[in-house]
């Protein structure tokens, strides 16, 4: 994306939502959707732009959440610095996992597996370790004040998460326009060719994982401030790994607005499924899974890229596409 204007318009438009909508239910819907969008924006840096599909982004969400919660509850740290430390924890986890996985040369399925396994190890450890509250979880004390980063009004929480999402949007926009971004997409498209052009592929991928981890961790930190509770299933469970991946893929992986579009669509579909079935568990996720398969199969650019996909199909259908031998 060349200009910053669309991003400014989207942020301004979203910022106006609490002025128009006063229903707590609707605001809650937006808060949760934006939180998932934030987690998805983290995944998008590594998976969408870098082509490294993580199946364990819970590593970062959970680490951010636990660090924020534990620092406040066990060490009496103020919520603001605790929030910052949670984000740093995500970056550190990204460095560690990225360093291990990418230096070992893991790609594709292997990378997906190893991230999944890391998340699972952390989940099991968190479910028994005393510091995380083991099976009981950790409860953050209710203290509705700006100093404790807790707000009485939903609107305030909404603006907080929107601010975080906006920062992530701007970071993504800056990456798209930078040398780092060009190298990252080059690694996604063809790692060997990128190396021939002087790209240190391992360093670029680790860099992407650090940024990715920090952004997704921020979503975890926000979760703790919003719900004031975290346990091993919330923090490191498969649900967040799947939603962090689902939103950018559905909205359009490797695009600035992909995760945001995906999160709103996914959450809206989920709500609709719950309304139809009367809160019976499972159907919303069935819908997510079906949408994922359909998007991968029919709209490889996601919903955000549907127009381009259709235009290409129409052109190809009319014989406008060049018939090419793919390998020269």
């Amino acid at each position: 994306m060349k200009s910053f204007t669309p991003i400014a318009i989207v942020i301004a438009g979203l910022a106006a939502v609490p002025l128009l909508v006063h229903s707590n239910v609707v605001l809650n819907f937006f808060v949760v959707a934006l939180m998932i969008a934030l987690a998805g924006q983290g995944w998008n840096i590594l998976g969408g732009y870098g082509g490294q599909y993580s199946f364990g982004h819970a590593i970062f969400f959970g680490s951010g959440a636990y660090v924020t919660a534990i620092l406040q509850v066990k060490y009496g740290v103020n919520a603001w610095p605790a929030f910052g430390c949670g984000i740093i924890a995500g970056a550190v986890a990204g460095t560690a996992v990225g360093w291990l996985a990418f230096r070992a040369g893991l790609r594709g399925s292997y990378f997906a597996l190893v991230t999944l396994a890391f998340a699972e190890v952390l989940r099991i450890v968190a479910s028994v370790a005393p510091i995380t509250g083991a099976g009981v979880g950790t409860l953050v004390k209710l203290d509705l004040s700006f100093a404790s980063l807790q707000f009485e009004s939903r609107a305030a929480f909404y603006w907080l998460i929107l601010a975080l999402v906006s920062v992530a949007l701007i970071v993504t926009w800056a990456i798209e326009r930078s040398r780092f971004g060009a190298w990252l997409t080059a690694v996604r498209e063809n790692e060997e060719a990128a190396r021939a052009l002087g790209v240190d592929a391992v360093a670029v991928k680790i860099g992407a994982m650090v940024i990715s981890g920090a952004i997704t961790a921020a979503a975890g930190c926000f979760y703790v401030q919003y719900f004031l509770f975290v346990d091993s299933h919330i923090a490191y469970g498969a649900w967040i790994s799947i939603e962090a991946l689902l939103t950018p893929i559905i909205g359009g992986a490797g695009t600035i607005f992909g995760p945001l579009i995906g999160a709103l669509v996914v959450k809206a579909l989920g709500e609709a499924a719950l309304v139809v079935t009367g809160e019976a568990p499972g159907l919303d996720l069935v819908v997510f899974g079906v949408v994922l398969i359909v998007v991968v199969g029919f709209a490889p650019r996601g919903i955000g890229g549907l127009r381009t996909t259709l235009l290409t199909k129409i052109k190809r259908g009319l014989g406008g596409g060049t018939a090419e031998v793919r390998r020269g």
Binding site: Y53, Y110, L113, V114, L116, A117, E120, I242, V286, G289
Partner: protein, 290 residues
């Protein structure tokens, strides 16, 4: 603590559990060996097959050991259809897409089961569930012994299919050199689907063997699938003997580490092995090359 009275039964139990793991892993490694993808829907298919075995028993009154002969062909067909009509077409031949599509399938299957049958944990009651064989120094559970024998029968059957039948030869050809096989007139999409079907049938056999002593709920399969991933990686992706051996090893490791560390940390031991193998030797302990 290290007295043989505790250690030897733990070891034997580990071997017996490992056999069921190996069965699950067999299906996974077969699919990987030919399609070169990790089937993330494997655990969900295991759960679905366990539900099938559960209802075969409770509704139709068919013993799980007999139901094997109905459920595994049924799951062969399901696996064939999934690969042929969903995974294959939706992924356009790209590995990344296959990952996502099988992940999507697992989400769909698991949650459709949750939606249909709720989160309740169900068990069946067969007369032989607790029968044992007395070895003098310890007892062996009969159902688990059956599982142990079955893994070798299945591995042998797979080996026979691979080496003696036309489709087996076609599968091996595709696994080795996809484009060459295609040029030789082999229908690759069909071979992929048959392989996926065989892998799914393996999982169905494992499900029927598990049902007499295990429980089923919509996420029951997950407990096995990460372990199966570990086995497949340990044994070398795509290697059938590796999967059998890897399964037995992991069964013993799990049994011994739960003995020393407790149940949940015993699982951590498995995952740490898994991560270590992936990072250090992704071709597996028994695999020849990456």
């Amino acid at each position: 603590m290290l007295s043989p009275v505790i250690l030897i039964p733990a070891l034997l139990n580990g071997l017996l559990t490992g056999a069921v793991y190996a069965l699950v892993a067999l299906g996974l490694t077969l699919i990987y060996g030919v399609l070169h993808i990790i089937n993330f829907a494997h655990g969900a298919l295991l759960t679905a097959a366990m539900f099938a075995a559960y209802f075969a028993f409770t509704v139709l009154g068919i013993d799980p050991y007999l139901a094997v002969f109905i459920i595994s062909p049924l799951f062969f067909a399901i696996g064939y259809a999934l690969q042929r009509f969903v995974i294959g077409p939706a992924s356009h031949g790209e590995d990344r897409n296959m990952l996502l599509v099988t992940l999507g399938l697992s989400v769909v299957i698991e949650n459709a089961l949750l939606f249909g049958f709720r989160a309740d944990t169900r068990t069946i009651d067969v007369p032989y569930a607790f029968s044992t064989i007395d070895l003098g120094f310890t007892y062996l559970a009969v159902p688990r012994l059956v599982g142990f024998v079955a893994v070798f029968v299945v591995a042998l059957a797979l080996w026979l299919i691979m080496s003696l039948t036309d489709i087996g030869r076609a599968i091996r050809a595709v696994a080795k050199e996809k484009f060459g096989a295609q040029l030789a007139g082999i229908d690759v999409a069909h071979v992929y689907a048959v392989t996926f079907g065989l892998g799914t049938a393996c999982v169905a056999i494992a499900a029927c063997l598990l049902m007499p002593t295990y429980y089923v709920n919509p996420s029951a399969g997950n407990a096995f699938v990460l372990v199966a991933f570990t086995i497949v990686v340990l044994g070398g992706m795509g290697s059938v003997p590796g999967a059998v051996l890897g399964g037995l090893v992991i069964g013993v490791v799990e049994s011994l580490s739960s003995l020393f560390l407790g149940d949940s940390l015993g699982q951590v031991g498995i995952f740490l092995i898994f991560i270590a193998v992936l990072l250090v030797r992704p071709q597996g302990l028994f695999g020849a090359k990456a």
